[in-house]
């Protein structure tokens, strides 16, 4: 993932899950971040789609359950 895209992604995660950017790493997931629930997950999906101007498939939207997974899944969309 390009550095610029990663920066945007981290800003989105930080604001939507209400945590400082420094606390985000590849292993961040619903298990480690309290605010990451089904509603904020959708907010993440909507924000990612809007900011990167992409449409995620339903399966991909559901699978993005950690920052590492988000990055892997996003990769082909951002080519």
């Amino acid at each position: 993932m390009k550095e610029g895209d990663e920066k945007i992604l981290y800003e989105i995660i930080s604001k939507i899950l209400d945590i400082p950017i420094d606390n985000i790493n590849d292993d961040s997931s619903p298990d480690t971040i309290e605010a990451w629930d089904s509603l904020t997950h959708l907010n993440l999906i909507m924000a990612i789609e809007f900011e990167f101007k992409i449409k995620l498939s339903p399966e991909d939207s559901m699978d993005m359950l950690s920052v590492r997974l988000i990055k892997i899944i996003l990769e082909p969309y951002l080519q």
């Binding site: 089904s38 909507m46 924000a47």
Partner: protein
């Protein structure tokens, strides 16, 4: 960073909305008015939160939102310990999605017989009505009910219109009946969800992924559209619309400058660019017909202006539509002040529309309460700028509002008569005022509530009462009186309200005493007070207390009780003993008595 300019908030994406709404909830915006909103819906509506929070902040409100679990309308209202009551709502939102009531209504409409549809409709409306009835007396906030719309498309692709009972007709009738129910419920309004869906379009309303994956029935675009229009509706339910628009003339009502280009060379008509100005005049006339007063402030030669209005028969706006014309070379802030004085309305009830950036800034700096429209560069966009300004938003127009232009026309005639009359009593006598008073009832309660909400200047206590508040007070024995007046120039309708109660058994307290600014200075205050005191005496009350609560707008009545023979007890409390009181009524006002 602490921010205090909210109108510039400009969000376009969900991310921006969430970001700004977090800042607002984190207290980074100062000076917003607090408001609790409770949302009851047939689906999970939490996803709308950032949009409502942000759009409400743009309109100067800091909202705290509570969402009832989906589809728990009755449970939440019947349980006095529910989260709904705990949230102490000032505004209650109620949304039934038609798809949540019965999916087949939306995607298999023609499986129903006519009779079944009738029953469905009755079932839906009965449920809404019973919820509204359950709420009555339990909460004092405004209730806003979403009307109905389909979300994706009609059941059939092209042949709905020619069906004897079409799907579109079903929804229209449902919405019409819903409006009737809401109109009968105090402080209850409709959010025109149907119009918002149309505006965004079936094609864009739902994001199938969000709907099927997470049961969120709105696309991002729809979420934003709901946030905007819903907030606009909530604010309109809470605030008084502006009463008057002050317009510039050259390059505003027509293209060109009459003093330079000459009357025959201005742009106006059915061809571009004149057609843009014609459209704008039509927008203005539409406002006029809704009771908005029109005034002019223009740096111009008065004779030229009169000439152009007299010679251009094709103008949509005629001279007769204006309440005041200020055509001179003075600065516009002074002219607007004079307009406000002549029409007897506050600056915060006036909107200013002028194509000149310079004039707008000058007026803004001198009269900060005034609403100044940010006029776009191109005249093509004038109408939209005015329509989307929101200052004239209202949800329900009373007969008094619609006829406002008529009332003020009479006010103008009274104004010119007062120049001819010798003394004020002499002038008032020539008006032949006829006063009617009465105790509040079902017919008058809406107007009485409206007056308590809107009146600022001649208002001793400025207490605001919704219709349900007033009903409660009457039930508890309060005396709620109204006064209407009619004179040679027309009927002003209900313009005065007095409320007194004797909850303390040994004396009566005047809780509210107000007159519409339309009739200030006509000694009607004396008449209303006399009638109130007589009524209290008739109910065997002898000791009356009056209070004055200063608000910054009601200075003119600070001495009201002193002037009317009350004895001062403290800075805000006066007393009168009715056992030694003798009525002294102005003899030039004819009393038609109580109805």
């Amino acid at each position: 960073m602490i921010n205090s300019d909210f109108s510039n908030i400009d969000c376009k994406s969900p991310f921006e909305y969430i970001k700004v709404s977090r800042d607002i909830e984190g207290g980074q915006f100062e000076g917003l008015k607090r408001l609790n909103i409770s949302c009851m819906s047939s689906y999970t509506a939490q996803v709308l939160k950032p949009y409502i929070v942000t759009e409400m902040a743009k309109r100067n409100y800091d909202v705290s939102l509570y969402f009832s679990p989906y589809n728990t309308f009755e449970q939440e209202i019947l349980d006095k310990d529910s989260g709904f009551f705990y949230s102490k709502p000032n505004v209650i939102l109620i949304h039934f999605r038609i798809e949540d009531i019965d999916e087949n209504l939306s995607n298999n409409f023609y499986s129903f017989t006519k009779k079944e549809l009738k029953n469905k409709k009755k079932y839906i409306l009965d449920r809404v009505q019973s919820i509204l009835e359950m709420l009555e007396g339990k909460v004092s906030g405004n209730i806003i009910v979403y009307n109905f719309s389909f979300s994706e498309s009609l059941s059939v692709p092209i042949h709905d219109p020619m069906q004897s009972f079409s799907q579109d007709r079903f929804i229209s009738e449902l919405n019409y009946d819903l409006a009737c129910i809401c109109k009968q419920t105090p402080s209850c309004y409709i959010f025109d969800y149907y119009q918002v869906v149309r505006f965004v379009g079936y094609k864009n309303w739902v994001d199938l992924k969000l709907l099927l994956l997470a049961r969120i029935p709105f696309s991002v675009q729809s979420q934003i559209a709901i946030g905007e229009t819903l907030s606009r509706t909530i604010v309109a339910s809470l605030e008084t619309p502006c009463k008057c628009i002050v317009l510039d003339l050259d390059n505003t009502l027509w293209g060109g400058i009459i003093g330079e280009d000459g009357i025959s060379n201005i742009q106006f008509g059915n061809e571009f660019p004149g057609v843009a100005f014609k459209r704008f005049q039509q927008t203005i006339l539409n406002l006029y017909n809704q009771g908005v007063l029109l005034a002019v402030s223009s740096k111009n030669d008065e004779k030229l202006v009169l000439d152009i209005f007299n010679s251009r028969q094709d103008f949509v706006i005629k001279l007769k539509h204006f309440s005041v014309l200020k055509i001179n070379w003075d600065n516009k802030a002074d002219n607007i002040l004079e307009i406000s004085r002549e029409l007897n309305i506050g600056l915060d009830s006036i909107v200013f529309f002028d194509d000149s950036h310079y004039e707008r800034e000058l007026v803004k700096s001198k009269l900060p309460e005034l609403h100044v429209v940010n006029v776009p560069e191109s005249p093509l966009d004038y109408s939209l700028a005015l329509i989307s300004h929101e200052a004239f938003d209202y949800l329900y127009l009373t007969e008094e509002d619609k006829a406002r232009n008529k009332y003020y026309k009479s006010e103008q005639k009274r104004f010119s008569l007062s120049h001819k009359a010798e003394s004020i009593d002499d002038f008032l006598a020539k008006l032949n005022m006829k006063v009617t008073t009465g105790l509040v009832n079902d017919v008058t309660i809406a107007r009485v509530s409206q007056l308590t909400m809107k009146t600022n200047q001649f208002n001793l206590t400025t207490k605001r009462y919704s219709i349900s508040d007033l009903e409660k007070m009457v039930n508890e024995g309060a005396l709620v009186l109204w006064l209407s007046v009619e004179d040679n120039f027309g009927d002003s309708g209900i313009v005065g309200v007095a409320i007194a109660d004797n909850s303390e058994a040994n004396y009566w307290k005047i809780d509210t005493f107000l007159l519409s600014c339309r009739v200030i200075g006509r000694k009607l205050d004396q008449v209303l007070l006399n009638i109130l005191l007589e009524e209290i005496k008739r109910r065997e009350g002898f000791l009356v207390y009056g209070e004055y609560i200063r608000t910054g707008k009601n200075e003119q009545v600070s001495l009201f009780y002193d002037d009317n023979g009350f004895i001062k007890e403290s800075d805000f409390c006066w007393k009168k003993d009715l056992s030694v009181w003798k009525i002294d009524s102005p003899d030039f006002i004819e009393l038609r008595g109580m109805v």
